[in-house]
Symmetry: C2
Subunit: 506 residues, 2 copies
């Protein structure tokens, strides 16, 4: 029913300013002192886009639920103090604050769903939970809408909080991430894994001074975008690291391989006591992931850093792969054992990941745009009349259809032309039309038309619901008077129950 | 898996300050300079609450979709100018602004979904759409959490935009609102209807000076909470209306009745030319609603005003009814033909309503709390072992179950006790357990246990999936070796397809 513009908001904004398409409205537009657009870095979602998004969210939810997860929700804004200093220097700058309107509380929009989750655990005294949360987060970042980088965007988070035996939750997290990306059918992906403490150990071994760790982390973090030469240059020339130390760091972080092979390489390198805990963790992780059958898409990548300050153990990142090159991160996460403790509650170990829905949707929408006829609405039956002044009858038919749960519409005109009605039905994508005129009404008959085959059948009016229910439940579109092809009273009742079912109490 | 506190956030906040339960942690708590709570007027949603909310949202969505609606999404904040002066004096004060962080755009949180929808139509040049939108809105109102009055809350909106023949969309709106509230099974409700222009006409007839209209509207608006005497007093003593005029207004606005009866009364009163348009609208509305079979719960109430400035025609409000008294508004809406035009686009007539989810949920959660055993997760099968060091085997079983789409979990311990495992399974609410020890593994057998009947059956390991799939698809929990009660290979394949189905392209 709506038109979906190809141009994005940024383009529209300009064109709205520059192209006065309707000269008549000029005076009115001049009176309008502001642009009618969405804020910078945000967008409207159109019906087709929303259908695709909701389907993707359902797929992701199904994976999460399959692993026994429950869902929660937290406010879109938090007390500013809750969010401050959890995201590292870069992240901190990007937090949206609310204006002080005399409320006595300083508030900020959530930057991710992880810190609010940790706050949730602390506030509510929850000691263990396997939860997912799907919601919008906000960053005052430079927006690149076409690459899916927005200021308002949706994240799908899965986390396991609580005391468990080492690495079992971590392995399940990898397994779930693998299932989510597989079920979404987005193409080839790779899940990179690494360990914060392994990075620490390697920096120690290479001789990086402890105070330079954050600076060198952030340099290594760029390795997926720029060459090692550039990273080394930054380390030496900008961050003041000794060249020999930088080269030693390079020897380690350039390594990546299949998990078991990479683990063996590190064992052979004899990293010693410093790396022992991290190596034990990685050993268990790989063993458990193997048992869970999710190692095929996993790569042990020593250059994986992940910028956020709160990670303490294993870290993950999922990337799309084209040929042999990884393009664009689509999910990330890791273990953060100290975050909940910061909020004054008992220390509660946590591990989890976040899927960035926007980048996933760019891939899925591209696939979607290639598929043939796509309808925004799900209307099944269009009610039409061939002669004038039948609006009341059309409304009565609609009521009967809605009453059993059939998705139905009619043209909202008193006296539409039948051609216009059928054009509308086709545009919406209805499979059937119910058509009548005065003569049918008199004889208590009605025409049922298949809008795809263009075949039609005149039936007794009281057979209309049974005929439609049969075809909708059997996904059959064949029209015949065969008595087998009409739903029984019991079947209509069942259909109605299923269509109207409210599941609150089951 | 989580604990759901009975106390609300406000209570927690105080108790967290005053009750140092763990003296050991005192030092840490002292270091914490801020309260770990949600912002004033907001709350966390726990898993059980979320399950109930999502079920309610599904029910509402199904009603909307049945009428051919599509969905859209808009940003949580808008340019401040877009929202300003659309909500009347009272509403305007309650808008949340974002802080100016050097972005060059003044932003505010959305106050409802209607103004953003009108902005959406104007920005994207959409001329007609039947859309629903479910999302959070924000008001800096005085929060009364227990009565469902929050600063962050969810609205479910349905609107029809576009040029149609008079009152057909309006009648469909009443019909949908009626269906939504019926399907939600929240108890007895009533949909009040009135017309803005009818109120205007009555004020003219009563002799209210034009400049006093807004003040007198706002006085009448209180009639559902206070007595007519108090309203009259406010009109005369505070708003300076002539007592005779106030009494005349009272004669009209105290009237309410079944739609047809009320309409006839107004006809008999011969309101004349001033009320002609509004009376024509009401005549058609009642006629069409009758054809749509949704008049039973409708009442024509002359005191219905609805505060928002943007309404131009028919207005609605749904209230819960206990005995003969209406308690609390749960939905509201009306026609707003000029709002889109304000944004410089062509005038696009609109009509719609908004269901306030929070009040609905207070009613549903109360019902919910009376129902017996309720589980937060949907896990179907728990994997357990009776002897030590079987974690890898448990993970392998999990992988097999997840692979076909069965919802499964295990205890995240290396060596759990079987008692603990079964307790956990029961807590989660699993129907089945898969149990094995070394002897079963050697003989390639496994024990399938029904956790409700406590009956169990030892079967060949390769029969496990067929046995579970049969019972999950047939909702059967009976355990037997009857070969009929194992799914065929084809059925397992189908089950897997259904469980993993991604519907983007159908």
């Amino acid at each position: 029913m709506s038109t979906e513009p190809i141009t994005n908001n940024e383009v529209k904004e300009v064109s709205q300013q520059n192209t006065p398409k309707q000269p008549k409205k000029e005076t009115k537009k001049e009176q309008l002192k502001f642009l009618v657009k969405t804020p910078k870095g945000t967008r409207d979602y159109f019906p087709k886009t929303m259908n695709a998004r909701e389907t993707a969210i359902q797929t992701i939810t199904r994976c999460f639920r399959r692993h026994g997860a429950v869902t929660i929700d937290t406010p879109v804004f938090e007390l500013k103090d809750i969010l401050t200093s959890k995201y590292g220097e870069e992240g901190g700058k990007l937090i949206y604050d609310l204006a002080d309107q005399g409320e006595g509380e300083k508030l900020s929009m959530r930057y991710d769903l992880t810190v609010p989750f940790a706050r949730y655990l602390a506030t509510n005294g929850v000691k263990k939970i396997k939860r997912y949360q799907i919601g919008k987060v906000y960053r005052r970042d430079q927006p690149y809408m076409t690459r899916g980088r927005q200021r308002e965007f949706c994240q799908c988070d899965f986390d396991i909080a609580g005391e468990y035996d080492p690495m079992i939750p971590d392995a399940e997290i990898v397994s779930i991430l693998n299932e989510v990306l597989t079920d979404l059918e987005i193409g080839t992906f790779r899940i990179k894994i690494n360990h914060r403490k392994l990075l620490d150990a390697i920096f120690v071994l290479a001789g990086v001074p402890r105070e330079k760790f954050p600076a060198i982390f952030s340099a290594v973090d760029k390795l997926d975008k720029v060459s090692w030469e550039d990273v080394e240059k930054e380390m030496v020339e900008v961050k003041g690291l000794d060249r020999a130390v930088a080269q030693k760091v390079g020897e380690y972080v350039k390594m990546h391989d299949k998990p078991k092979a990479m683990y063996q390489k590190l064992v052979d390198m004899k990293l010693g006591e410093t790396a022992k805990d991290a190596m034990n963790d990685m050993k268990l992780l790989i063993e458990y992931c193997d048992a869970l059958g999710c190692l095929d898409n996993v790569e042990f990548d020593m250059s994986l850093v992940r910028g956020l300050d709160y990670y303490t153990g294993v870290i993950f990142e999922a990337v799309m792969v084209v040929g042999n090159t990884s393009v664009g991160s689509i999910a990330g996460g890791g273990r953060y054992d100290n975050l909940v403790g910061i909020f004054g509650a008992n220390k509660i170990p946590c591990v989890g990941f976040s899927v960035g829905l926007e980048r996933i949707m760019i891939i899925l929408e591209e696939k979607l745009s290639k598929s043939s006829k796509l309808h925004e609405a799900q209307t099944e039956v269009f009610v039409a009349s061939v002669d004038k002044n039948r609006l009341i009858n059309r409304l009565q038919y609609l009521n009967r259809l809605w009453e059993v749960g059939i998705y139905a519409e009619t043209l909202q005109r008193v006296n539409p032309k039948i051609k216009q009605e059928l054009r509308d039905a086709d545009e919406i994508g209805c499979r059937f039309a119910v058509i009548f005129g005065g003569s049918e009404l008199e004889e208590k008959k009605v025409v049922l038309k298949n809008l795809i085959t263009q075949k039609q059948l005149t039936i007794d009016d009281d057979k209309l619901i049974p005929a439609l229910v049969y075809r909708l439940t059997h996904k059959d579109t064949y029209l015949t008077e065969d008595p087998e092809m009409f739903a029984t009273e019991e079947e209509v009742k069942q259909f109605k129950q299923v269509r109207h079912q409210l599941n609150v109490f089951n």
